[in-house]
């Protein structure tokens, strides 16, 4: 790089230290995805976003909340009015009911904490649906490494070009300016300043959800709910029918139980894929979590961009004009 201040080159020259700084920042930008393992983590993030997409609509999330409400209502009605209808009033009658239908009794006992946990979890997810959509509106995570590598590599190569061909500096300077401005404008164009912090909030909210332990807990809830609903569907409703109640009468007297029975397959169709998506994306979430915090991402473009523009305008040495050179040199070289 010793030639970029060559006294023989005409016109403006790059400032040596500014050019070194540009090259280093460009190199840093190009290598950032390697340092942050973005080539591995980016596609994982893209996979997570794609897997969550079907579940992150307001309608679907409201549907999940409705499922929980329906199960809750059926548990209360099953353990309340239905128990009375089958075994009569009083503690002894209730004890008889629990003894006759132990699976349902266990479900009724296990349900309150499940209800609380699942409702809370769904509320948290629902509250972050907008944040999810903000991140989803950004370019795919798969492309993120390219956003660093491509401008970084171009800047680095141009800096090398400027170093080895000092005459190209006046043109390359403008290339750095254009790239710098592009890097500053890209986060603005992609609305990263508003979307990235939202992504950060989503990642924070999912911290307690997207863990293997939490997913296993939800899987165990599924087991509890399935067994309890099975008891309601296969033991308790048939017992009501044996008591002489028709399907219509059960529907009228115990609407919550009838509703859960009717909606159970729909609930399974809806909720098990969600549990699957949560389970399948624990590692993907952890991979994105290991990236730098989302709100910092716009600055990873803006700061180098500003620096490129600023460094491109650091004044370099100007080579002396040939005529002036001759005029100055003449008297010094002429013997008196």
């Amino acid at each position: 790089m010793g030639s970029f201040n060559s006294p023989t080159a005409p016109g403006a020259r790059a400032n040596r230290w500014a050019l070194i700084a540009i090259a280093l920042i460009g190199l840093g930008l190009a290598l950032a995805p390697v340092a942050f393992k973005m080539f591995d983590r980016g596609p994982k993030g893209a996979a997570m976003m794609a897997d969550f997409k079907p579940f992150m609509t307001d309608a679907r999330l409201a549907g999940f909340q409705q499922h929980i409400k329906d199960i809750n209502a059926a548990v209360h009605q099953g353990h309340g009015r239905v128990a009375v209808a089958l075994e009569g009033h009083g503690a002894a009658a209730h004890k008889r009911f629990d003894a006759k239908y132990p699976s349902f009794a266990q479900f009724a006992k296990d349900w309150p904490p499940i209800n609380s946990d699942m409702s809370g979890l769904l509320t948290k997810i629902q509250a972050n649906a907008g944040n999810y959509r903000a991140v989803a509106a950004l370019p795919s995570f798969k492309l993120f490494p390219g956003f660093f590598v491509i401008p970084g590599a171009i800047v680095f190569l141009f800096a090398l070009g400027a170093a080895f061909a000092p005459r190209s500096w006046p043109k390359l300077r403008w290339a750095f300016v254009v790239l710098g401005v592009g890097l500053v404008l890209a986060p603005i164009a992609f609305q990263m300043f508003s979307r990235a912090p939202k992504g950060g909030r989503m990642m924070t909210a999912f911290k307690t959800i997207e863990t293997r332990q939490k997913v296993q807990t939800i899987q165990s809830y599924f087991s509890t709910i399935a067994v309890g609903q099975g008891s309601l569907r296969l033991e308790i409703v048939p017992a009501l029918q044996r008591k002489g109640l028709s399907a219509k009468q059960i529907d009228a007297r115990f609407p919550a139980v009838a509703t859960l029975d009717r909606r159970w397959i729909e609930i399974l169709n809806d909720m098990t894929p969600m549990i699957g998506a949560m389970s399948d994306n624990v590692e993907n979430y952890q991979a994105i979590r290991s990236l730098p915090p989302f709100p910092l991402f716009p600055w990873f473009f803006v700061i180098p961009g500003v620096l490129f523009v600023a460094l491109a305008f650091v004044p370099g040495r100007r080579s002396p004009r040939p005529a002036a050179h001759a005029a100055v040199a003449g008297p010094l070289t002429t013997p008196s």
Binding site: Q229, G230, I265, P273, I275, D280
Partner: protein, 228 residues
């Protein structure tokens, strides 16, 4: 007679490819063999439960995280007294066939997620939605192409390789292969009586991905082998 180094290198490469290729082709049947091969169908005895024990063909789902004592996912729709056993009934092929795949129909699921495969076993309700099994050439989860079901017997020891064995439920497919398509897990093993053709075959296969991720299927097939 002199040969150029390039020719020698080409010749050696071709030899290596030929040897490797031959090894692959020789290895596949010998892995399945390990005795003598059984070609035909393992006709299944329907599952039943009596005397505190399950008999015939049945399946249990082992919940992950169990330590000393295994915990199982109950199936409220099971006909067994112990709801952790889901009893199987032979399908249209009578059971598990070797030498060919027994795929699910297309589409594999009904509108409500009920599995429609019915060659090996008849679809059975599992928490209100039918589940069934098929042997699939391409594993829907890993997208790997797998070897066809093969069986061998050595004395009384029965060994079956069926990486394409897949459980289907609620619109989803779960590989239950033995071994798994990536070669992990173990083969299915059991006993075979050459005189009576009676067999018992068991294996455990971990579920990877989906709502039952980390759980394992425990399969118990029993019946009579019918040669092709």
């Amino acid at each position: 007679m002199t040969r150029s180094p390039r020719r020698i290198a080409t010749g050696l490469t071709a030899l290596a490819v030929a040897v490797t290729g031959t090894a692959v082709f020789v290895e596949a049947p010998s892995q399945a063999a390990g005795g003598h091969a059984l070609n035909g169908t393992f006709k299944l005895t329907p599952g039943s439960y009596s005397g505190g024990k399950a008999h015939g063909t049945w399946f249990r789902m082992i919940i992950s995280g169990s330590a000393k004592k295994k915990a199982y996912l109950p199936n409220p729709d099971s006909k067994s007294k112990d709801k952790t056993y889901t009893l199987g009934r032979p399908g249209t092929d009578g059971g598990l066939a070797t030498g060919r795949f027994q795929p699910s129909p297309s589409p594999a699921f009904g509108a409500k997620g009920n599995a429609l495969a019915s060659k090996i076993i008849k679809p059975q309700p599992f928490t209100a939605i039918n589940f069934s099994v098929a042997t699939l050439k391409v594993d829907p989860q890993s997208k790997k192409t797998v070897a066809v079901t093969s069986a061998s017997v050595n004395g009384r020891k029965l060994t079956v390789r069926m990486p394409g064995y897949t459980a289907q439920w609620n619109g989803q497919s779960f590989n239950q292969g033995a071994p798994k398509p990536d070669g992990s897990g173990s083969v299915a093993t059991g006993t075979y009586n050459a005189k009576t053709k009676h067999f018992v075959l068991t294996w455990t296969s971990k579920i990877s991905g989906g709502p039952f991720n980390g759980y394992s299927g425990y399969w118990h097939l029993e019946g009579t082998f019918k040669a092709r």
